[in-house]
């Protein structure tokens, strides 16, 4: 699979090895073209004007929602709310469903594998409501400890939040098993952070049994600033609005307001049709590749990288075996701090992430302050793996590694 030429930034930067797609992906030309085409041919404020240009903008926005909903396995496209991204989607659930339903003495279950965006909103909601935050711990190899979760989920649990794929380790969590357990043991809602699964796995919301699933467009070849929250219609209809203003209203009286129907009730203000069209072009591009091939391609690169990394003395890889991971290789190298490693790799044209990956609770449990993370996507190839390895060897030279 050689797609580098489809990505203008990569095609224009020979020698650049982009291994930070878990932070944000590069964008194919078809996505940039779709956004430009919207502004050149269809730009107007959707849902507003009686004139045909506004109607066209509305049609573009509506069609984009249908395309993205189909890609993520949602039959009822009106239950896909556009947000700025995963973070806003989770905050929407916490701020709306959470504020309306969580009370003193209730419990919220999160996991030690969660990104801050699926941890902090629940921690803060618990503090605000006098509820208790419970944290599902991990197995030694960086998977969720399902026995621990089984003990935590009880009739007191109101919300169970977890990610589909860990951004820090790449661990793929067994969503349907977790959902079944939560249903058996409680009446809690399930909230899944899909930021790292929507780009890499074939996701069917309707089959997963979740109540809520949030994702980010910019990690799946789409533009920055647009993502979504998918929710069960009956829950979304009961929930109060998250923000109020234009577009989300039905009638505004002097003393009260009635709400628009889904999805508009949760999309206050002028929407972002240009980026929705861009994301629709991104999922069409992924569809043409096929999500099975996306996963196979990434796994083959991860296997290649990991076999060579494992041969380096003092290099430690975190997380479960490759078969239970997606897209990410997280590692540390002896006493070379990940930031130093990232700087030296940058000198070789290799972009990796170094730091806590917005997962400080996880880093504490791994007893590190930071790891280095290489993440792979459709445009990566063997040359990127070669450059990663060459950079790591250079770091060892600079830091004066002496063979035992």
């Amino acid at each position: 699979m050689n797609l580098r030429a489809d990505f203008p930034l990569l095609a224009g930067s020979p020698g650049l090895h982009y291994l930070d797609s878990a932070a944000t992906s590069q964008k194919p030309g078809v996505v940039l073209d779709a956004i430009r085409d919207f502004y050149e041919t269809s730009n107007a404020n959707p849902h507003r004007g009686a004139y045909s240009l506004s109607v066209r903008a509305t049609e573009c926005y509506t069609q984009a929602r249908l395309d993205i909903a189909r890609f993520l396995g949602v039959k009822d496209a009106a239950s896909l709310i556009f947000t700025r991204g995963t973070t806003e989607g989770i905050n929407l659930v916490a701020g709306s469903w959470g504020r309306a339903n969580v009370r003193t003495g209730d419990e919220i279950v999160v996991t030690a594998l969660d990104h801050h965006s699926n941890f902090v909103p629940w921690q803060q909601l618990a503090l605000e409501k006098g509820a208790t935050l419970r944290i599902c711990e991990l197995t030694g190899d960086g998977r969720l400890d399902l026995d621990c979760m089984r003990e935590l989920v009880t009739s007191r649990t109101k919300i169970v939040a977890f990610n589909h794929v860990s951004n820090a380790l790449g661990t793929i969590n067994p969503v349907t098993d977790i959902v079944r357990m939560v249903r058996d043991q409680s009446r809690a809602i399930t909230v899944c952070d899909g930021a790292q699964s929507a780009p890499h796995l074939s996701v069917s919301f309707d089959d997963l049994g979740l109540d809520f699933y949030a994702f980010s467009g910019h990690k799946m070849l789409g533009p920055m600033g647009l993502g979504g929250l998918i929710g069960r219609r009956d829950l979304l209809e009961q929930m109060p609005p998250y923000q109020s203003g234009g577009d989300m209203i039905e009638f505004v009286y002097d003393d009260r307001t009635t709400w628009n129907v889904l999805p508009h009730k949760f999309e206050a203000g002028t929407p972002n049709p240009a980026n929705a069209v861009g994301l629709a072009a991104a999922v069409a591009y992924l569809d043409r590749i096929g999500m099975d091939r996306v996963l196979t391609h990434e796994r083959s690169l991860m296997a290649m990288a990991e076999e060579r990394l494992a041969a380096i003395d003092g290099l430690r890889i975190y997380g479960p075996p490759i078969g239970q991971r997606s897209g990410v290789v997280s590692f540390t190298l002896e006493d070379v701090h990940p930031h130093d490693l990232a700087t030296i790799l940058d000198g070789e044209g290799v972009c990796i992430r170094a730091g806590h990956h917005c997962t400080q609770p996880l880093m504490r449990r791994l007893d590190v302050t930071a790891t280095a993370r290489a993440s792979f996507y459709v445009y990566n190839d063997e040359a990127d793996v070669d450059a990663l390895l060459a950079g790591i060897m250079k770091a060892r030279d600079i830091f004066g590694y002496v063979p035992a």
Binding site: H337, H339, D340, T343, G347, T369, G400
Partner: protein, 150 residues
């Protein structure tokens, strides 16, 4: 897109003296009877430095640091403790200001002997993402001096 750093700049960054201070940090540990104690985090990477200072009159009599971090942050902390020990608060302020200028790429600072071994960190200025690492210990020191003033 930011330009990937060149090998020469990488070599200038990771000078032997920096790696030496990283491997064998000076004044690392905990100070008994400290007058000021500061804990400071680099939120970017989660690295943390603790700094304890003992004052004598107007000056810093002794200081020690603790914590985990990258080579740049630990070397900067180690060199800082060597340089400011025994200096007056005015002298320290002048050095701190000069060091900030060095981090902002002031070429005259790179040859200023008042900065002593800290000049080895001049290469950091070429790496804006790493300037925070080099300044972490200095921010802790500033906070410790302010603690005493208040």
């Amino acid at each position: 897109m930011s330009r990937p750093e060149t090998s020469a700049e990488i070599a200038a960054l990771y000078q032997e003296m920096i790696l030496d201070h990283y491997r064998r940090p000076r004044n690392k540990g905990v100070l008994e009877n400290a007058d000021a104690s500061v804990q400071m985090k680099n939120p970017l990477c989660g690295d943390e430095i603790g700094l304890q200072v003992h004052f004598d009159g107007d000056g810093v009599d002794d200081l020690k640091f603790s914590g985990r971090g990258c080579s740049i942050s630990l070397a900067s902390a180690s060199m800082m403790t060597q340089l400011v020990k025994g200096k007056s608060s005015n002298e320290i302020d002048a050095i701190r200001t000069r060091f900030r200028e060095l981090m902002l790429g002031d070429v005259t600072a790179a040859t200023d002997t008042r900065l002593g071994s800290l000049r080895a960190l001049s290469g950091v200025a070429r790496f804006p993402a790493r300037v925070k690492c080099a300044l972490l210990a200095w921010n802790a020191l500033e906070s410790a001096l302010a603690q005493r003033a208040s």
